[in-house]
Amino acid sequence: MNPVSPRASRGATLVELLIGAALALLVLGACTGALAAAGRLLAALGARAEVEDTAELAMEAFRFDVRRAGFDPSGVGIEALPAAAADRVTLAADLDGDGVLDASSEEITQWVCATSPSHLSRLIGAQSLPVAAPVERCELHYLDGAGVDLPVGGAGLSAADRARVRRVVLELAVEPSRPGAPAVRHAEVALRTAP
């Protein structure tokens, strides 16, 4: 066995320990700060991604419903837009081609911009599916063949005006769960039914 000299087994002095501890604290502090910043960034990005995803999914679902509105293989005269107001629109499609609209199925969907609390919902029969909430802006517009925005009164568009609608517009701004800019979307969807 090698003899250990007293000098080698002396250990660290108090100054060395303090310096070591200070350096360790410094490194740990820097790491913690970096981790915290990364965590905050991750959370912010997650919230941003979530709100953008919510807005995009809402738009996709809206486009999906408007695209198929008026599907009428039986030729019974299904009206694509049975109702159209500034805050809600009803879309109808005879999806099974039996010539009858089943109000409890997806053959009739309603999109509603609600105010208290502010949200965008998709209604099917008695089911209400909140698509986006909270929303800073949620508006529906109806354009005719020339792109003119048809004025919507309190009772919504008349039957004659609904027959003129060629495109349905949804303006949506979804607020994120953390402070930040809303996710803004504009969908202008042409009805797939010839005038």
Partner: protein
């Protein structure tokens, strides 16, 4: 004194543990990111495929000839029902399509399946006939080569008093609309397109053979419906062979000349004038049409005099009342079939 092996500490296991935990965390993050990327890619593929399917439907429907129903289409290329090619149709690359009967016999169902990248979408479209008769063009040609030289003057007025928001195009043909544009540009000064007017567009040839058959079946008169002066009767007229007009004449309704319409005098007509072999307007002669002119395959349009064709939806509607005019195929609704 402490034995040396007890002095070793736990730095290595601790470091290994930290590295393992970090590696697992990094792998989890990478997997999450990869999943998000794949989801986004799938979504992009799906949207691209949907756009491709949409485009496919639009392309197929716009290429369908104007007509009255979809029976011929549903019978397929062999023209016989109940065979394997029923409903078969030519589709643009990247998509497959087939027609099938709809519950309403006035409609047809078009099923389209399109692929774009790794995405695939299928759509069912209801195909109907347009509510508006014929096509929105003043001259409906079976081929752009029909247009000959214009030594006189040809005025095409697209403004339709009945449909003020939808001016007519000066002409339509199955060929590339650029040919029609080029012809108009080459005849600037002798051919005038009065605004408002839509741009020339591509349209399959008018179905003149079936129109003649329908006119005969509807009891079209063989002549005598044109008058030299006064208000002419609204009539469905089918002339077998050429029709020469040497003095003043006018008419209303639908005039089908199964030959050459040769005008050496003054001829005014309100409605649709069909000339299977073409129209010749001699120098000093005048032709005024409120409605539309349809020319057959190989027909020629020779204008040495003055010709004015003006849009008139009411005149077309009146002709349509005499004999249902062919109508364009249009999409009457769509649903996702994926």
């Amino acid at each position: 004194m402490t034995p040396r092996h007890l002095d070793r500490g736990s730095a290595l296991p601790a470091a290994l543990l930290v590295v393992t935990v970090a590696a697992v965390a990094a792998a989890s993050l990478a997997t999450l990111a990869r999943t998000e990327v794949l989801l986004s890619r799938n979504r992009v593929s799906a949207v691209r495929a949907l756009s491709a399917a949409d485009g496919c439907v639009a392309s197929i429907v716009s290429a369908l000839p104007a007509g009255w129903g979809f029976d011929a289409l549903l019978r397929g290329p062999d023209g016989a029902g109940g065979t394997a090619d029923d409903g078969a149709t030519i589709a643009p690359s990247g998509c497959a399509a087939a027609f099938r009967p709809a519950p309403d016999p006035a409609h047809a169902l078009l099923n389209v399946e399109a692929t774009a990248g790794e995405g695939r979408r299928a759509l069912d479209a209801v195909v109907a006939r347009a509510a508006e008769p014929a096509i929105p063009a003043l001259l409906w040609l079976s081929e752009a080569a029909t247009l000959g030289n214009v030594a006189g003057s040809l005025i095409l007025s697209g403004a339709d008093p009945v449909r003020p928001g939808a001016p007519r195009a000066p002409m339509a043909a199955p060929d590339d609309p650029a040919l029609l544009d080029a012809w108009l540009a080459a005849h600037t000064g002798r051919v005038a397109v009065q605004a408002p007017a839509a741009a020339p567009f591509r349209a399959p040839a008018p179905p003149l053979a079936e129109l003649a058959t329908r006119a005969r079946a509807a009891g079209a008169l063989p002549g005598g419906t044109l008058v030299p002066a006064g208000t002419p009767p609204l009539a469905l007229t089918l002339i077998s062979g050429d029709l020469a007009i040497d003095s003043a004449a006018s008419g209303r309704g639908l005039l089908f000349v199964d030959g050459l319409l040769d005008i050496a005098g003054t001829f005014e007509f309100s409605g649709v004038v069909v000339a299977s072999a073409g129209i010749r307007v001699a120098s000093g002669a005048r032709l005024e049409i409120a409605g539309a002119v349809w020319l057959g395959n190989g027909a020629t349009l020779t204008v040495d005099g003055d010709v004015h064709v003006a849009a008139d939806g009411a005149a077309l509607d009146a002709a349509d009342g005499l004999l249902g005019l062919p109508r364009r195929a249009v999409v009457g609704g769509m649903r996702d079939a994926s």
